[in-house]
């Protein structure tokens, strides 16, 4: 009881209480801070836009960032192993598989596609200027641990199976994307 009336002791215990309250608050603030992470929605399956997203992904890795790429709708074409038309697919799914690119190698450009000549010309121009190729950028991103997530809802809509996509892809929905995006310093929609 004597301690309570000791002014020095009362000050110390008040300070201790304050410090522990501040520590708890600091912990809460730290937990809500964004991570050194970049999240991208790759909506487009255009060769030039996928190229841009992979340049940024590799660049972010070099800057010490973690990267998450959420591939949805046309962007899923970039992850395909090839064109797969299954006999049990319905007519629209077959048409979709035939009319969309079957992987990185067959993406078309957003402009100057010229019935497929555009990508050939772009590839040549990029190679001539020693710009790293799309497959190399993709491989580098994978090796660097870039997290790649396929949107399950658009896969279902477009008739794309998990086995149609390259190995090592994660699958999820909007909450999985947002789980990373809301903790990221930067988010891009491509």
């Amino acid at each position: 009881m004597l301690e309570v009336h000791d002014p020095a002791s009362a000050t110390v215990s008040a300070l201790e209480e304050r410090v522990s309250r501040l520590e708890a608050e600091l912990k809460e603030v730290r937990a809500s801070l964004p991570e050194d992470r970049l999240t991208m929605v790759v909506f487009s399956g255009d060769m030039d836009k996928v190229f841009a997203s992979l340049v940024i992904a590799n660049g972010a890795v070099a800057m010490g960032y973690e990267v998450s790429m959420f591939f949805t709708f046309w962007g899923l074409s970039a992850l395909k192993k090839g064109r797969s038309v299954r006999s049990k697919d319905d007519v629209l799914e077959k048409a979709m598989a035939l009319m969309t690119p079957g992987g990185l190698g067959s993406l078309t450009t957003s402009r100057l596609n010229f019935m497929g000549m555009g990508p050939v010309l772009f590839r040549k121009m990029m190679a001539d200027k020693q710009v790293v190729s799309l497959p190399e950028l993709f491989a580098s991103a994978r090796e660097s641990g870039v997290r790649m997530i396929g949107c399950m809802m658009s896969m279902e809509v477009l008739g794309i199976k998990e086995s149609d996509l390259v190995d090592g892809i994660e699958f999820g929905g909007v909450a999985m994307y947002l789980g990373d995006a809301l903790q990221s310093r930067t988010s891009l929609f491509i």
């Binding site: 949107c151 399950m152 809802m153 279902e156 994660e170 699958f171 999820g172 929905g173 909007v174 909450a175 999985m176 947002l178 789980g179 990373d180 809301l182």
Partner: protein
């Protein structure tokens, strides 16, 4: 130990983003510590519920699958 279930939610047949939205609406009407049982048929709800729970401070106590139906027990956070 068997958790008591305070509420049930049938989200079968719904696709992303509806299962997460239905779950959030139901949880808003619950008290911290209460448990909801959710059933879905969307395979995407498995990673999505995990990401959602992590973000919102709720806990997935258990999850299981039986003939295409995913069952989750989710406990509301404080």
């Amino acid at each position: 130990m068997q958790e008591s279930i305070d509420r049930e939610l049938d989200a079968k047949g719904l696709k992303c983003p509806m299962p997460v939205m239905k779950l959030r609406t139901a949880m808003n009407e619950m008290e911290p510590g209460q448990v909801i049982k959710v059933e879905t048929t969307d395979r995407g709800s498995v990673p999505d519920f995990a990401a959602w729970a992590k973000r919102t401070g709720n806990t997935i106590l258990s999850q299981s699958e039986e003939s295409g139906v995913f069952s989750f027990l989710v406990k509301k956070g404080e």
